[in-house]
């Protein structure tokens, strides 16, 4: 259960950005959670709701966009969304691919006043 430590990193990031923008309050937090980021979205939601109280994010809406795994095939020169956890090009079966999304967690957008 590392969702709590992830939320604590997230809240720090929110705090920093709010300070930079001179905002009093954050009203919406938008994150992108990769399907293979190792984070359980439900647990993340619970952790966020628990920890946001008394922080700059108190009362903020939490929007999670779940990101599929996307690879780039260096043979086909094309992007593909992986439907299963099989890291070869779905079209030409090459191993010569780069994973470009779906394995990380990002803070994308903040709405503040």
């Amino acid at each position: 259960m590392h969702e709590y430590s992830i939320v604590s990193s997230l809240l720090d990031l929110c705090e920093e950005n709010a300070k930079k923008e001179n905002a009093k309050k954050i009203t919406k937090v938008e994150v992108k959670i990769g399907k293979l980021s190792g984070v359980e979205p439900d647990l993340l939601q619970v952790a966020f709701d628990t920890f946001k109280e008394k922080t700059i994010c108190d009362g903020a809406e939490f929007v999670m966009n779940i990101q599929d795994v996307v690879i780039y095939c260096n043979v086909c020169k094309k992007e593909f969304t992986l439907k299963q956890n099989e890291f070869t090009c779905p079209k030409c079966k090459s191993f010569d691919i780069n994973t470009i999304d779906g394995e990380d967690m990002y803070l994308m957008r903040l709405e503040m006043v």
Partner: protein, 246 residues
Amino acid sequence: MCADCGCSITEDVGGHTHHHEHIHDNPQLNDKKTIDVITKILDKNDHEAGHNRAHFDKHDVLCLNLMSSPGSGKTTLLEYLSDIADFKFGVIEGDLETNKDADRLKSKGIQAHQIQTGSACHLDAFMVHKALHHMDLDKVDVCFVENVGNLVCPASYDVGAHLNIVLVSIPEGEDKIAKYPVMFRQADLILFTKTDLLPYFKYDMKEEKKSARRLKPNVDILEVNINDIDSIKRVAQWIRFKKEMR
């Protein structure tokens, strides 16, 4: 963040740039405003991990992060390696509680430092940084980080290692690789441990290896059994090779 530690670990950052941004005097906001941030949530950890790696590089030490479920044989492997390895190594130990694993290694003459994470189910780059204050890297060629026994959380945290070794033992049963894809995606080497127990378990080794390579086609795989010293020697050879290739 980098300056507040003040130790030499933070000086050499080779390869990454710091953006020490100035806080501009923005006017107080009156209306709602939306800003695009697009920052990795674990950005600070990743940055610190970069420092740790730079520190290992400076001392010409290969750092390996050992991950697995509790009891898959991480500490046992390190004990056996100490008898046969032709390189010197130290170990940073992560456990929720107790110094038992570090003590086991110290009693074999291995330099070891224990981190007790308390409630954290994984090590992060900051914990490893702190532990590095207690390690004399000039005395070793390789530094292992034995992560907290857990197939989930450690996979999300870069600790500053160069390579990840993930262990999976036969008694844990089949399908562990398919069930924990995030962890096995991180593996540079997968060790199937306790293979002496294969006769007692239903375990299709071939299928498990296939499943590993579906997730990571180029992953290295070895089988380990502490009653077969040659299998430990192959692990040592892999490490030796990776050390020489850096």
